[in-house]
């Protein structure tokens, strides 16, 4: 059972917020989707190893070489707020 409180809690974890009307809708949607996911419970998976990746690739290493990275001004171009050297965010320490 998905409650409004659960949705509120998950929204906090995900850094999202919902107003009163949308939280009703999301609770309903989540309830429906989770109900649909509960079908997996029918399947016996005792002792089955979980698969995270479909193609077995392990420990892909590369040489630790110094390479040129992007110039700072290129990267700052997409920043919503910046000064000449930094990303600017709201003050976090008084």
């Amino acid at each position: 059972m998905i409650t409004k409180e659960t949705v509120q809690y998950v929204a906090d974890l995900a850094r999202l917020s919902f107003d009163e009307t949308s939280i009703e809708k999301f609770t309903k949607d989540m309830e429906q989707i989770i109900g649909f996911a509960d079908k997996l419970g029918e399947l016996d998976t005792e002792g089955v190893n979980p698969t995270a990746h479909s193609v077995p690739v392990y420990n892909v290493f590369r040489e630790d070489e110094v390479k040129e990275s992007f110039p700072r001004n290129e990267i700052l171009k997409n920043a919503p707020e910046k000064d000449s050297e930094y990303f600017v965010v709201p003050k976090v320490v008084e």
Binding site: T6, V7, V10, A11, L13, A14, R15, L16, S17, F18, F26, D29, M30, Q32, I33, I34, F36, A37, D38, K39, L40, G41, E42, L43, T45, V48, N49, P50, T51, A52, H53, S54, V55, V57, V60, R62, F70, E74, I75, K77, N78, A79, P80, E81, F87, V89, P90, V92
Partner: protein, 481 residues
């Protein structure tokens, strides 16, 4: 529409090499077609006229010098707007990335640029590739080329529609649970999802990293093969890309299907399948049997579990991948907030659309403490079972044929109220991503309402060659419809 746009890649490449037409002229025609068609089609998010003509000019130089290395040289194409293009905005059809201009090219773009392909623009998708109709785009609703009141499918709806409306010769899409094959089926074009690891994901904006693959959409099977062999290959910047044998997918396509064993899984032809689609796909199977293929009845009984497993795994990965959108380094930032946390929260709440939020919420929920074992771990165990089931079936058969989607393209707005109803459109495609297999949708007829039907040809890991050969053989014998 000019007849030129009915040409295959092979035909148009011949014309370019023989100087019957220049790449600049061809690109201008593609741009004209776009300007004429777009008011109805709405497939493109960005048309890059200037860059395209510059690329075409360069292609003409290469063609004139006789040094063209690729069959794709000088041919106009479109790219899904979740694939990074240096200096050209890449939005993921999201408000979040409305003004994002990548400082680099995706690996597939480097390869296509190296082949002197001509990109005329970036095409629409469901926001962050999450959806099955392209209705989740923040910007516009793309139409189906066969009926403007219907959806083109999704999430690569713009990729399929731009080919279907003959605005370009081919396009790139991405496929996490069916996002190339399902729109290809709806729009009557060919769409191929390669084996996981065949094509580098470097520069593809991540949705679900263990499932995402980039692949081609085109008018015919051979064109898809040409594009695939151009974009395939190991890339150190994508640690999951693997060294495949020499990427030669277009040669030997005419060798036929004699003696090839094709599996037909009964679960994929059940009662939820539209009877007209069932008939068309089984007719195609019969046609292949006449060509000498051996048809084998098989069972893939995990079908019903693939969809929930897919939605748990893909949403879990999405919730983690999309955590990077915080309004700091790039992307949308809310105007008003009272703290750093509040800025994150408001930027994400205002920047993402509802479907993306649903997936992030579902993913966060199934990964949260107390639910992890019941959902995420369980889904990964089911993933193992699905994969094993395919591997053991592939000991009996060389390829598997199913319908691509259970229904014809639905009407715009018809399924937007019910997310799980929409998810059911992916029922036949998601298990292929879960198992990491290659699969292709090939048109195999039309329904009584004149909408295209697609059949899905599934192959063994890295055996794109076999499915391309089956699709190609079928194309030669299917006639017109």
């Amino acid at each position: 529409m000019s007849d030129l746009f009915q040409c295959s890649v092979r035909e148009i490449s011949e014309k370019l090499k023989k100087k019957e037409i220049s790449s600049v002229e061809l690109t201008q025609k593609s741009l004209e077609q776009i300007h004429k068609t777009e008011p109805q089609a709405e497939a493109f998010l960005t048309v890059c006229e200037e860059q395209a003509l510059a690329q075409a000019k360069k292609a003409d130089e290469v063609l004139a010098a006789g040094t063209a290395q690729s069959i794709l040289t000088g041919i106009p194409m479109a790219v899904k707007d979740n694939i990074c293009t240096k200096g050209i905005r890449t939005t993921c059809a999201s408000r979040m990335l409305e003004h994002f201009i990548p400082p680099y090219d995706a690996a597939v773009m480097e390869k296509l640029n190296g082949a002197n392909a001509v990109m005329v623009g970036k095409v629409n998708l469901d926001e962050f590739a999450m959806g099955s109709s392209t209705e989740n785009s923040y910007f516009k609703k793309t139409k189906n080329p066969h009926d403007l009141t219907r959806v083109p499918g999704g999430s690569s709806g713009g990729s399929a529609a731009s080919v279907g409306f003959h605005e370009v010769f081919y396009s790139l899409g991405s496929d996490t649970g069916g996002s190339i094959r399902q729109p290809a089926a709806y729009c009557g074009v060919v769409g191929l999802k390669p084996t996981y690891g065949l094509v580098s994901r470097y520069g593809l904006v991540a949705f679900a990293s263990s499932l995402d693959q980039i692949g081609p959409l085109a008018n015919n099977v051979e064109d898809c093969a040409f594009v695939l062999e151009t974009i395939a290959g190991k890339d150190p910047r994508d640690a999951t890309s693997v060294d495949s044998r020499k990427a030669d997918f277009s040669s030997g396509l005419g060798k036929g299907v004699k003696g090839l064993r094709i599996g037909i899984p009964k679960e994929y032809f059940g009662s939820s399948l539209n009877p007209e689609i069932k008939e068309k796909v089984l007719n195609a199977v019969k046609a292949l049997e006449k060509e000498g293929a051996e048809i084998v009845d098989i069972s893939l009984k995990e079908l019903d579990y693939a969809l929930p497993a897919y939605y748990i795994i893909s949403s879990a990965e999405a919730s983690s991948n999309l955590a990077r959108y915080d309004g700091v380094k790039y992307g949308y930032r809310a105007q008003e907030f009272d703290s750093l946390i509040d800025m994150y929260r408001k930027s994400r709440t205002e920047g993402f659309g509802d479907e993306v939020k649903r997936r992030i919420m579902l993913g966060t929920y199934v990964l949260s403490s107390g639910y992890y074992d019941a959902y995420y771990k369980k889904a990964q165990q089911v993933r193992t079972l699905i994969q094993q089931s395919f591997v053991s079936r592939f000991e009996q058969v060389d390829a598997i044929i199913t319908p691509t989607v259970p229904n014809e393209a639905f009407r715009i707005g018809e399924k937007t109220d019910n997310p799980t109803q929409m998810y059911l459109e992916d029922i036949y495609t998601v298990s292929i991503n879960i198992a990491g297999l290659p699969a292709m949708s090939v048109p195999c007829g039309k329904t009584s309402s004149n909408m295209p039907v697609g059949m899905q040809i599934i192959g063994k890991h890295f055996d794109e060659k076999t499915i391309l050969n089956v699709g190609y053989t079928y194309e030669q014998i299917r006639g017109t419809f």
